[in-house]
Symmetry: C2
Subunit: 516 residues, 2 copies
């Protein structure tokens, strides 16, 4: 597979000409006035990548690359605004060195070198950040610390169902190493193919499970983190009450406190029983109430994805004001009784079962994993296409949803002219849902990044004003900073900042993310 | 009810003469040589409580008490070593002022007064610490900050099933306020009657549920914490990925980073369906394997308490090498199918169902809540009676259990002469159990604190050396410090210490606990 330098994922996985044509036709059906001219990416060799300003010490030279193409491919994540800037050939900040440690000692040595010179270091997993998490958005020379060579499952404890895993392993390589043992992490963010365990941990990624272990946080038994102040390793424990959790300080620290090099992760057996159903609703408010009833039932479905009308039509072709995709799974026992009870709850709220066991999980999963490729195909055609997400309590959802969609539609009308907003729940909790929004709007080539930034500001303000979080699982990075700074309690910000000073006294770790 | 000044709970709940006689007879059956002479507590009025060294400012005088009896009742927690020191009339450090804030502003004003003078402040909930968490074990004058007047459920969100609750409310008063709304926190630590929400949060208390929400951490939606650097309030969110969790820094901070004044807590509906079973095993190792199978099954029992032979006999009269008490509950649906599958798993490992629906939960709960009263009755009779607890991964359990019981029995033989060690699991996880040990040993009056301290050192060393945590849910306090300091990663200690300096620059909050 060949990693795309400008867009999502692998070149071989991009939409075929036929798929692209169908996508454009579907999109043109609701945006007939849009200009779908294709803007192909420039060749990276033609781009003016500035020369590296850093010279690694001889002992570290074997780990360091200053190749322009290598550095360019580490310059940005894979948000819409990253992809479009690539398409436009806009080279901005590029790391001066890409360093690829092969051992924990290499990480220590590289951090030592950078601490000594005050050189910013950006820990890099799979580079799939959609929030500006890996971009050196500052004038100083920077090192991109690519953990990709630390990619081994080192140790497996079959009894406790856990494994010690190096942080740089990508999703598929991780699962390939676990499969012979009959185990799986079963953590599938949309970026699964193009992101790493360390990236998931550093950003508190959201995964496969719609309930219970929604974030990767709960799958962590212990962490090993290299900081400029030394190596922090927590004990492998199933649970503990010994002071504030050390792991919870590093989970979500986004490379600002240290470099996660290893983790003991809790694993699952492969599910033997799976049951699924799709339930349609004539009224979205009924669908929300049914979903809440399931979230509060103690049944804990593996999937509980409520699609609104636009989302349902675009993704499944179903016409319904709400479409709930429900699935239960188990490695231990049949789960029909679980689904039966959940369907009683949906029936109580006016739901109609449109399929049971019908819709294939692998079909949905494959479509889910390919969504970012569709985004890129439309981005090339001057569309403003991006997602944003949040979480709120159930009592706040109706007003938040109304405010967010109103703000989005008003901004689309003003900034773009025409477009649609879609919504689905990716995860649900007893006390609230995690709504995930998509925007498909007409843009003007050369202006779509600015158009998106305006849209994003409008919806982010609506989220903050209506009780949401600026991110449920996309993390903060640089793009969410203005709203994160307002969401976070000030005393906690002071405490976190002091903790960072203790661990990273030279202030080299991922500057601009979360903190200074 | 009248709170005991020297021992656990309320005087009216202490063992009756008849119950005491039966307990002594049961204990004498396995410790026939022990001297069971009763040592009654002294009158607190006869104890030499030193005069207060602090004079609160006039504006705060109405909140402050310097009454010797009041101060004496805030001087210690309720560990065995606290109770015996009370029985012996040993007055050591006593807080100089007991302050009872009536509002958050009072808390701010009290912290301001103490910060200005550098006066240590010990946040006090119900005073039931068993780890020296509330004892001013230092020479400086101290204020005990008793939150008991902040005892209201302020706001209820029925839709999201959550409530905003003041931290000083005791368990029963909290449940009484929730009951009219058909809701419950359903968090029942053994101290339920004599401890507060704020205490549970500050110490990461373990509650009712044997699986899933074992610690109170997972029931927290948001926290409001008064620190000397200002008030920290997190957003009410069902889930978030915006940086490291602010709440997880305060959960388990044991009064060292701030004073928790309020929390939005996730609630449950009252369970309508409950099924229970007791399963006996001829071999303890089979019982452990069966319990592990259930913990890893995804069935999530509410109770999953494995008693060893001594624990089973002492608590239920059943003779078995292992006795598993299992319960499922739901407010939404019958759970017979869940229990049926769990019993298939126990049968696979040689378990025999001895009762189904038979054993009453309220009987066990009542016995559970009265255990500390039994400890006190035996403590008066020169017994060394105390519990300690840990958690470890399943692969480590066998060796940890062997090491801990060997260390305990060797220490009992050497230090006490005779005694028994018991074990039960209080909580279980897919990757490991939380074993809870009891020691009943003969002591010599006047020496039992020192004897316990020696025993505790021996078992704590065995726990640390064999992969356990120094505490699963009793917290760290002052008593666990030597082992906590070794368990905690050094860089995390540095980060936590820096965070404390930022929030509590005068270093007044609960000195000696967790940190300096």
């Amino acid at each position: 597979m060949t990693r795309s330098w400008w867009g999502w994922g692998d070149l071989e996985e991009a939409l075929t000409a036929e798929e692209t044509e169908a996508l454009v036709a579907r999109t043109a059906a609701f945006l007939p006035a849009h200009d779908f001219t294709d803007h192909a990416p420039p060749s990276p060799d033609d781009l003016p990548v500035p020369p590296s300003r850093l010279r690694p010490p001889a002992a570290l030279a074997r780990l360091c690359s200053t190749d322009p193409a290598d550095r360019l491919s580490h310059a940005r994540g894979k948000a819409f605004r990253d992809v479009v800037r690539n398409l436009e050939g806009r080279v901005e900040a590029v790391p001066d060195v890409v360093a690829r440690p092969e051992s924990e000692q290499d990480v220590l040595d590289l951090l030592h070198w950078c601490s000594t010179g005050g050189t910013p270091v950006i820990p890099y997993g799979g580079g799939s950040s959609v929030v500006g998490g890996i971009e050196p958005r500052f004038p100083a020379p920077a090192v991109s610390l690519d953990l990709g060579r630390l990619d081994q499952v080192v140790e497996i404890d079959r009894t406790s169902r856990a494994a010690r895993i190096q942080a740089g392993v990508y999703g598929p390589a991780l699962e390939n190493q676990l499969r012979p043992h009959g185990l799986t992490l079963r953590h599938y963010p949309q970026s699964f193919t193009h992101s790493t365990l360390g990236g998931w941990l550093a950003t508190r990624a959201g995964g496969h499970f719609a309930t219970l272990a929604t974030h990767i946080d709960d799958l962590v038994e212990s962490l090993r983190v290299v900081t400029p102040a030394g190596v922090s390793e927590s004990r492998r424990l199933p649970g503990s009450g010994a002071g504030p959790s050390p792991d919870r300080m590093f989970l979500g620290s986004e490379g600002t406190l240290g470099v996660i090099t290893e983790a003991w992760m809790r694993l699952q057996e492969r599910p033997q029983w799976q049951v699924k159903a799709s339930i349609s609703f004539a009224r979205y408010s009924d669908a929300v109430r049914a979903t809440r009833a399931i979230a509060q039932s103690g049944l804990y479905p593996a999937n509980c994805r409520l699609l609104d009308a636009a989302e349902a039509f675009l993704n499944t072709g179903v016409q319904a004001d709400g479409l709930l995709l429900l699935a239960f799974e188990s490695a231990d026992h049949p789960v029909d009784a679980w689904l039966d009870r959940a369907l009683e709850l949906t029936a109580d709220h006016g739901g109609t079962v449109t399929a049971r066991r019908g819709e294939s999980g692998s079909a949905w999963r494959s479509a889910f994993l390919r969504m970012p490729y569709q985004r890129d195909a439309l981005a090339r055609r001057s569309m403003v296409v991006e997602t944003f997400e949040t979480a709120c309590t159930w009592d706040a959802f109706e007003s938040l949803h109304e405010a967010v969609t109103t703000a989005a539609n008003a901004a689309i009308a003003e900034i773009c002219g025409a477009g649609v907003v879609t919504c689905r729940f990716t995860h649900v909790y007893p006390d609230g849902p995690a709504p995930y929004y998509g925007i498909y709007a007409t843009g003007r080539w050369g202006s779509t990044v600015a158009q998106w930034d305006e849209l994003k500001t409008a919806v982010s303000e609506a989220i903050l004003a209506n009780g949401g979080t600026i991110t449920h699982h996309h993390s903060v990075g640089r793009d969410h900073r203005p709203w994160y700074d307002r969401q976070r309690p000030d005393p906690f910000a002071a405490a976190l900042s002091a903790a960072k000073d203790a661990l990273d006294p030279a202030g080299i770790l991922n500057p601009g993310v979360l903190l200074r």
